[in-house]
Symmetry: C2
Subunit: 210 residues, 2 copies
């Protein structure tokens, strides 16, 4: 399989972690987001949204949207499950994941920050927007873990929730968000980063890292 | 079960459709978004993100995030499935749903528009932002259906994709988005709106509609 990604894309980072946890090796194809390579006609033909990542399967399917790709991986390669065992557990885990992917990341990604700049806002305004969206969103995520007591976000093995959390905390630090009031998030992150599957997926370890 | 919602919330509208398709009746509790009732301490205790909707189950679980709620409903009440039968089909359907829920709706909802206004933007600026986010996002969604030939978004019965599409098109019209270049989206919507499960979930049919 081919993973079309970008080293610093949170969504591509999520899929890299999931592939590593499953022990699946793929070929990586880098598209430079800041240089607009994801808007090249050849890539738009593959993925009309022009978003990264996209997973090209061996039989020619092109899967998009990181959470949908990860759910597919979990269905097709059920070993090392990425969702909790109970239906309530899965609902909580998916809700936490969407609280990051939709409520935080989708509102602070490069596309949205570029939209703000196109309205006349400065780089500092865009940075402040990203900072505030991430800070407020992560406070809510910390609250979502209030009743959880496992090593990871939901239990004693990493799930989709941790796969979303780690790239978002990486992003939070880029935008200088104060994380000291988020002990549960930080504890889950520390447990994850001790695992090669997470560590090897980090942006700075990718071939296209700058 | 209790569904905490608001008549015009796209996310609550999605859950209403899913419940209707499954034939599940719940008690509806309205929280007025524009009056800030979703920020009341009693509601924040139930749902720390302060987002609508939330589904309170009979044994006291509180489920949040519309897509996670709908996946849970589909697992617990498997009759009238809301996802396609094949893994590739589910991946495409979930990707389309996220292309609406995360890439469009999360970037144009009331919270984001209020954030723009807090930066000094006018109501007209906020409306233009919402218009552009919806218009660009729906063009990508239309492209995602290019190879689909069914009555609905993905096949001959409504799925999660249609459940996300119908409220987003309702929203598109509020923001005066020109939909004429989106025949596949409009055809799926028309098929949905002919079904009571969709028609009865419409904002104007809710008890809290203004």
């Amino acid at each position: 399989m081919l993973l079309h990604g970008y080293y610093r894309s949170s969504a591509a980072y999520r899929v890299r972690i999931a592939l590593n946890l499953k022990g699946i090796s793929v070929k990586h194809v880098a598209h430079h987001l800041r240089k607009g390579e994801h808007r090249a006609p050849s890539y738009l033909k593959l993925n009309p949204q022009g978003l990264l990542p996209a997973l090209e399967t061996d039989d020619g399917h092109v899967l998009t949207q990181s959470l949908a790709i990860i759910e597919w991986l979990d269905e097709i390669y059920p070993e090392t499950p990425l969702l909790p065992r109970t239906a309530y557990g899965r609902a909580e885990c998916r809700a936490f994941s969407l609280a990051i992917a939709a409520e935080i990341h989708a509102v602070q990604n490069l596309k949205v920050l570029n939209r703000l700049k196109a309205m006349g806002h400065s780089e500092a305004d865009a940075q402040a927007w990203a900072h505030d969206v991430i800070a407020e969103g992560l406070v809510a995520c910390e609250a979502l873990l209030a009743n959880q007591a496992g090593t990871f976000c939901f239990g004693d093995r990493p799930t989709l929730a941790d796969i979303c959390l780690v790239p978002q905390l990486y992003n939070a630090r880029r935008f200088k968000v104060d994380l000291t009031s988020m002990p549960k998030l930080l504890a889950s992150e520390a447990a994850c980063l001790a695992m090669p599957a997470f560590a090897d997926a980090a942006p700075e370890r990718q071939a296209d890292a700058e």
